[in-house]
Symmetry: D2
Subunit: 117 residues, 4 copies
């Protein structure tokens, strides 16, 4: 599915649910960015906590945490949640995340050419 | 552009540059996930630092930071960098980020129906 | 209680529990720093998730989250957990966190003198 | 130096510089917590970025990043900055970080007794 269509689906749902992305002032826009950044950190923190448990089990035979295979569905769900916050943050900033990612890939193609094998 | 095609472009470039996503053991897979999580945190930290400066200027007339409009291109670039790390983390986990995002949106459609106006 | 004595209590307990802070190579030292950074992100993520719920309740009358007073004990516990990770990270780096904090306060005293009222 | 005296020094300096920790409403208190959380994420992100460079050099002979020894002073400074944000967040929450850390260490002493060697 088209990247920008996925973003548009999320933003439309957010607006119906009372999580706006359009604001009348930079102060309001800033405050929403900060709130969504807090949400993003929460999702990445959940990813980190689950990955920590996997690492403890790999390194410590006494620890009864999940294997990486067992944790993978949860870890993937957290990445999806994090992506949804990126969609919101980008839209509040007036950005086009698809275009911004493709532009950054072009920059990286130049920057890392010397590392290519 | 198709979401999954964008992910595939990034992963192909990473592999040519010596940043692998396929591993022979869960221990190696875990170690790369941890390294990419560190990279993700770095990008989100840069986003946070720039957003902090915007907030200080909005709240403190003595502070000479960027306006939100001035900071937006930098902020958007950090979001693109963060998205690229999500592509890597998802792929290392054997995930399909496009599908995982769409599945999560379906779940959220059910969960948040009561908030819809 | 003395800052450095609190750090020493934690590091002593960690070593008894098999969470080392001394290593024979930079590669091992780096790997433990990365693991502890993941743990730190997990704690800050829990703080962020709880604070997000407080914000949703403050901004959204339909949302049944905790008040700030109700959330404060949990939030404070996450800060304590985060501090404990800072103790570990500092010690693995051969640092003296008390001294490093006091040095940074001296630097900030110079830097922010113009903001003082 | 006493842990709580170090916290008090920082909070006193913050108040002189116009970074308050006392507020008249939970809404204002929440907004400041969110702003300080953003600051904390920024510091941890700088730590992560520096640690990432160390890891790239350790794992990739083509990469010209700092050694762990070269990066350690910068990494330690970021930890001090992060600690200062924890002081602020704890104080805004009406907490006593020293007491909260010691309480958490007591809890961990019980919880991890079975891991002790």
């Amino acid at each position: 599915m088209d990247f920008s269509a996925i973003v548009a689906r999320q933003i439309g749902a957010d607006e119906r649910r009372g999580f706006p992305v359009h604001f009348g002032s930079d102060a309001e826009r800033h405050d929403q960015l900060v709130r969504d950044l807090v949400g993003l950190i929460g999702e990445i923190g959940e990813f980190a906590n689950e990955l920590k448990k996997v690492g403890l089990r790999l390194n410590n035979p006494k620890y009864t945490g999940p294997s990486l295979g067992e944790a993978a569905p949860h870890l993937r769900e957290e990445l999806a949640d994090a992506a949804i916050y990126l969609f919101r943050l980008s839209t509040i900033l007036g950005g086009d995340l698809e275009r911004d990612i493709l532009s950054k890939m072009d920059i990286n193609d130049d920057r890392y050419r010397k590392l290519e094998r």
